[in-house]
């Protein structure tokens, strides 16, 4: 634990590079990292995200962490090492990261048409740039050293501190190292076809250790709504926007001066000469038989309305010369694929892959990714994304430690400032 003499408030203007190092040294180091980073980026181009693939990333993680530990255990008197584990280094590292992420937050990323100098400096591909990599390692080094200081010797009072700092260290290191091992592939399924191969973003095709066959793609929809539109522009009458109502059999509603009564709602129907009949087949869509009554004149209009589908056009009910009653296109409530999954050495099994609930198998997670939106709910293809992230357990370990640390933080709070200005350094968190 640093003694009070390290506290910069005691000696504000110390000569630079004389131990103990503080902020001046920290800003210079940060500036140096930025300059070297941008120089490398300018001359040699960005990083190859694939360079840190397994097992190189494991070695880098172990060696980096090992170096930090060894430096702390055997060389903590070196000014640089002592400095790395204290708050000035932490503030400089945090500021450096903030600066680069701020650029990322202002400049459109992955922008093909960004100005040449922006691209050459890596500003539009920040996460694959040298300065970002340097800043991350500086950040991790400061964080890791601060963690080591409280880890050895271990004290129960440092538990909250360790949950936060070690948790963040583990999560960030594992996330950074693991990103090269993340595999994201797309498998395009067609009804009744067994598919073994998947392709990545660059179009490379891989044979997979699992196969899938689409039984059926399902899209569920909320009920459509009744809307008053201007016939010519087909736009919703602005004053009626708040009054749109969901169409159900037997429901009544009012849109401006018209009272609407829904006699019959067919979620899936097809046109038959002058009416609609329930049909549960490719191309069918919702339709409703309605009556509209003018509140003052008592005029009545009766007829079918539908938003149509890819197989038949929409139909309006004209109310007067300008306005019509329309049915909105229903919004999706769920997308899912019924799939047969084939894995080596196991029986085929039928599974469901739905938005927000991916299916996990053999280290892969299967996500509902897309479908043929020309056909909506009648799409006969479904695109499944397969993602493998072997470092996920490590990242989650860090995340759960930080969650526990956050709870600790909110209950412990911060100790009041010590009278000597030394701050809450010895507080429990």
């Amino acid at each position: 634990m640093p003694s009070a003499q390290h506290n910069d408030s005691n000696n504000g203007r110390a000569p630079i590079w004389v131990p103990p190092w503080r902020y001046a040294e920290g800003w210079l180091i940060s500036l140096g990292l930025l300059m070297v980073g941008f120089a490398l980026q300018w001359t040699g181009g960005g990083l190859n995200p694939g360079a840190l693939a397994w097992p190189v990333n494991l070695y880098v993680a172990l060696i980096f962490s090992g170096l930090l530990a060894a430096a702390y255990l055997f060389a903590r008197d070196i000014p640089f090492i002592a400095w790395l584990g204290r708050v000035p280094a932490a503030i400089c590292a945090i500021t450096l990261i903030t600066f680069l992420v701020l650029i990322m937050g202002l400049v459109l990323q992955d922008d093909e048409v960004a100005a040449p100098w922006v691209r050459r400096l890596g500003l539009s591909s920040m996460t694959n740039s040298w300065p970002f990599l340097f800043a991350m390692f500086f950040f991790l080094a400061a964080l890791g050293m601060a963690t080591m200081k409280r880890l050895v010797p271990f004290k129960a009072g440092n538990f909250g501190f360790l949950l936060n700092h070690l948790g963040l260290y583990v999560a960030v290191l594992a996330g950074l190292m693991g990103s090269a091992d993340v595999e994201r592939l797309l498998m395009e399924l067609r009804e009744g076809e067994v598919v073994w191969h998947a392709s990545d973003a660059d179009g490379h095709v891989y044979e997979m250790p699992l196969a899938m066959e689409l039984i059926r793609f399902e899209k569920e929809e909320y009920h459509p709504k009744a809307a008053l539109i201007e016939t010519e522009s087909q736009r919703i009458v602005p004053d009626s926007v708040m009054d749109l109502f969901e169409i159900h059999t037997g429901i009544t509603g009012s849109l401006m001066e018209w009272e609407i009564e829904v006699h019959r709602f067919l979620p899936l129907a097809m046109p038959m000469v002058d009416r609609y009949e329930p049909v549960m087949d490719s191309g069918s869509g919702p339709a409703a038989l309605v009556t509209a009554t003018h509140r003052e004149t008592g005029e009545q209009r009766e007829g079918w309305i539908t938003c149509g589908s890819f197989a038949f056009p929409h139909q309006l009910l004209a109310l007067d010369d300008e306005r019509s009653l329309a049915m909105t296109v229903p919004r999706a409530s769920a997308y899912r694929s019924q799939v047969i999954l084939y894995t080596p050495g196991r029986d085929a099994e039928q599974i469901v892959i739905e938005v927000n609930s991916p299916y996990a198998v053999d280290g892969w997670k299967l996500y509902q990714y897309s479908y043929d939106d020309r056909f909506g709910r009648w799409s006969r293809t479904s695109i499944i994304e397969l993602i493998r992230d072997p470092w996920l357990p490590a990242v989650y370990t860090g995340i759960f430690m930080m969650m526990a640390g956050a709870v600790y933080l909110m209950f412990k709070g911060r100790k009041p400032d010590a009278p000597n200005g030394g701050g809450g350094r010895h507080a429990a968190v």
């Binding site: 910069d8 945090i94 937050g105 969901e246 939106d373 993602i387 933080l409 400032d417 809450g424 968190v429």
Partner: protein, 266 residues
């Protein structure tokens, strides 16, 4: 259509809070009044819990699908978190503040009852959605309070030529707010993994959420070492809130947000 009117419950809950808070304000010294105050405050939350249960039964599904329904959960949990913070830290104003923010959300439901059936898109129908948003709202509310302290301190310094003696209140608010901010960020990461396949994609919204988080982190660490430098701390605290506001409102107007990935199949 529901067999009962959610508005009655909402109004009852707000009335409970109003009575409870009035008793808090008036009856500080009377034990009976204090007990009644706590009782009314919690009763307000309970009324909303009953409403949620009723909705659940009537609709035969978790009432977490529409915007109006999610607002009901905010209105229920914000005062609950505020109450917990009050019990732990004794900040009585937290009760008023939490109830006020909750009342705003519930008020929107009262003004637009149709919100109860405005639908949520599939990617938002996740068990993570409500906790993620609730902890963020609470974090923002608490951090807004810390920004008020910052502005007050800066005015004292530059206008009145006087100093805030200590930042204990601001520090505690930041610790509490930061803890919730961290939870919001992490819940978002876990949800992102389930919904979009990755826990962190540096989407503009995520980038700004991270910036908000890290500027508050800078404040906390600046305070640890330089607790005597009140003015620079106040500036960092104000800056942090500006970044928070950009994250909340501004992101969509930034050039970097031209292709946000947080949409599902349009």
């Amino acid at each position: 259509m529901l067999p009962f009117d959610p508005a009655n419950y909402t109004i009852a809950a707000m009335a409970c809070w109003f009575i409870g808070l009035a008793l808090f304000a008036a009856g500080r010294r009377r034990a009976m009044a204090r007990v009644a105050a706590h009782g009314f405050y919690l009763a307000g939350i309970l009324v909303l819990a009953v409403l949620a249960a009723q909705l659940w039964q009537a609709m035969d599904r978790a009432p977490m699908r529409t915007l109006g329904e999610t607002r009901l959960w905010y209105g229920m949990f914000l005062p609950l978190i505020g109450y917990a913070v009050y019990l732990r830290w004794g900040y009585a104003w937290m009760l008023y503040y939490a109830a006020l923010v909750a009342a705003v959300f519930l008020g929107i439901n009262l003004l637009h009852p149709d919100n109860y059936d405005r639908d949520l898109m599939p990617a938002l129908q996740s068990p993570w959605f409500v906790p993620h948003v609730i902890v963020y709202i609470f974090a923002y509310a608490v951090l807004a309070a810390s920004a008020i302290v910052a502005v007050k301190g800066l005015i004292l310094h530059y206008v009145k030529r006087d100093e805030l003696k200590e930042l204990h209140l601001a520090d505690n608010l930041v610790y509490i707010g930061f803890a919730f901010l961290t939870l919001g960020l992490l819940f978002g990461a876990l949800w992102g993994k389930e919904a979009w396949g990755h826990y962190w994609t540096w989407d503009p919204k995520e980038t700004w959420a991270f910036l908000t988080w890290i500027v508050y982190l800078a404040y906390m660490h600046h305070r640890i070492q330089r607790s005597s430098r009140v003015v620079s701390s106040l500036w960092i605290l104000s800056l942090a809130f500006v970044v928070l506001l950009v994250c909340w409102y501004g992101v969509n107007y930034l050039p970097s947000a031209a292709n946000s990935v947080h949409t599902y199949a349009r």
